[in-house]
């Protein structure tokens, strides 16, 4: 469904991604784990078209994304839950959700989707008229996920959904991801919290300073001594930002 072939990208002259290849198949949950500064966010920004790919190819649903503008890419069914949630702070919760469906023409279906989403996440109904900036971090994360779902994505990309959340909120967010997985949503999950990500994912890639150094089934990666040492093992501690 999504295929990256030796993609290079970065900011200014500094290369961040030094040629990464990965793929996501329909119905899969794939995680991209790595430490701070490995290039995880850069990878998502490049896929969404916010950063140009300098070299390599990005293909999604049979279309070449490398030269496509971000506002076009979302119309192909690729939605992003950005790092740090990035809700529209001064807008109401409902307005945020409706903006998620900005590109969609089927307004009646959008209304139905909104009702469905509210039934699923009652907090989005309770806080409907409240400015999104007044929500707690966890609530904002749920809103950001809801907003992305309003685009009816074929592939949902999440950038560190556990970042800066209280432990019980991390559990809540990952429960949501598990539900989404169960309902067949294809997910590309970028995480620093490797432990949580590998638990929900089918497959994983390990990114280190711009290169993929390891990939495989999530269960295998969990058992891999290198991953255990670097991301799960003794020296591992959660990083709250």
């Amino acid at each position: 469904m999504l295929t990256l072939k030796s993609v290079q990208s970065g900011y200014g002259r500094a290369p961040v991604l030094k040629g990464i290849s990965l793929h996501v198949r329909p119905g899969e949950v794939v995680t991209l784990i790595g430490a701070n500064g490995a290039g995880k966010t850069t990878a998502l920004s490049t896929i969404s078209g916010l950063l140009p790919a300098r070299k390599g190819a990005i293909e999604f649903a049979g279309q070449d994304l490398t030269r496509m503008r971000p506002e076009r890419i979302v119309t192909l069914g690729l939605a992003l839950v950005p790092e740090g949630r990035r809700v529209f702070r001064t807008l109401s919760v409902t307005a945020n959700l409706e903006l998620g469906a900005f590109y969609r023409q089927d307004k009646k279906q959008v209304r139905r989707d909104l009702e469905e989403l509210r039934a699923r996440f009652p907090i989005l109904k309770e806080r409907a008229r409240q400015a999104a900036g007044t929500l707690s971090g966890g609530e904002q994360q749920i809103l950001a996920i809801g907003r992305a779902l309003m685009a009816r994505p074929k592939l949902l990309m999440l950038d560190e959904p556990s970042m800066g959340l209280a432990p019980q909120m991390v559990t809540r967010v990952y429960d949501i991801l598990r539900d989404l997985k169960k309902s067949g949503t294809t997910i590309l999950l970028v995480e620093q919290n490797a432990r949580a990500a590998l638990k929900v994912a089918d497959r994983g890639y390990v990114l280190e300073t711009g290169r993929i150094i390891l990939d495989g089934a999530a269960a295998e990666l969990q058992e891999d001594p290198e991953v255990q040492r670097a991301y799960l093992g003794k020296g591992y501690r959660e990083v709250w930002e």
Binding site: S48, L50, R69, P70, E71, V74, T75, A79, L80, P82, R86, F88, R89, T90, L91, A95, E98, L99, G100, F102, Y103, R147, A151
Partner: protein, 290 residues
């Protein structure tokens, strides 16, 4: 006395139009323009010139002002608004100064003397005189513009604009064509300022570059900030206060700027969101976003 009050009302009306249009750029699209008076001037001069040289009737003169000011806005917005950083503040500041110099030095604009004998507006057999019906003309235009602005900011597009102000990159990922929206709103605001220029020129019937300089741009910015960014009603209030206040304080003219300064500093401390604004004032063209 009534004539004087009427004069204040007309001027306030024109400033309200300007402040509301500037607020679209600042308060809704989150861009900073420091040269809004340039479009006001372009509109004023265009309208005066086409009336004086080609004998255009008033509606056509207003339309010319709208088109020329809007085109200038588009020309300025196209290269600058495609960038994410706040280059607009710098570019509009420069543009304001350049336009001011152009008015001052061109022969066709009458140089420092400006243009005189600009005809009063006529519609059918009715002449809109400063002491008479002019206020009706201003109020009708104002109501029309307020109506259009309100429906714009409450629409689907208005929401897209506010999303851009809150977080541009995220807005883009939602499928919002952010450069197109920013350019569209900037062009629209410039065109509206052009209309205000036309109303001003045909009211005063004599214009020179003095009315359209940096001082006016800053005054307009103050009106928006005072009223509250992102609040249309706030812009109305801010514009009326700052249009009327200088007249009230005529005898203290030398201390006027001091008072403005004190007013803005006081406001920033006591009510950073402006009198009626909801969002907080962030001087993000000085500091960095976020």
């Amino acid at each position: 006395m009534t004539a004087y009050l009427l004069h204040l009302a007309v001027l306030s009306g024109i400033y309200v139009i300007l402040a509301v249009s500037l607020n679209l750029i600042i308060g809704y699209a989150g861009q900073v323009s420091l040269g809004h008076a340039a479009f006001f001037g372009i509109g004023g001069y265009t309208s005066a010139l086409v009336s004086l040289h080609f004998g255009f009737p008033f509606p056509l003169a207003v339309l010319s002002a709208l088109v020329v000011a809007g085109t200038c806005g588009l020309g300025l917005g196209l290269p600058t608004l495609r960038l994410k950083e706040d280059y607009l503040a710098i570019v509009t500041l420069g543009f304001g100064v350049i336009v001011d110099l152009v008015f001052l030095n061109l022969e066709i604009t009458g140089g420092p003397d400006g243009l005189v004998n600009i005809p009063l507006p006529r519609l059918g057999g009715v002449v809109f005189r400063p002491q008479g019906l002019y206020i009706v003309l201003v109020l009708l235009t104002l109501l029309l513009i307020l109506g259009l602005t309100y429906s714009l900011v409450r629409s689907y597009h208005g929401r897209a604009l506010r999303a851009i102000r809150d977080h541009e990159t995220t807005a883009q990922v939602m499928g919002i064509n952010t450069p197109a929206y920013k350019i569209m709103i900037f062009t629209l605001a410039a065109a509206v300022a052009g209309v205000a220029g036309s109303l001003y020129a045909h009211y005063i019937t004599f214009i020179n570059p003095e009315s359209f300089g940096l001082h006016t741009s800053i005054l307009l910015l103050c009106m928006v900030v005072l009223g509250g960014m992102g609040s249309i009603a706030g812009s109305v209030v801010g514009a009326v206060i700052l249009a009327v206040l200088p007249e009230m304080l005529r005898q203290f003219k030398d201390y006027q700027d001091l008072l403005y300064g004190a007013l803005l500093v006081g406001l920033l401390i006591l009510r950073p969101q402006g009198l009626m604004g909801r969002g907080k004032l962030s001087l993000k063209f000085i500091t960095k976003k976020e």
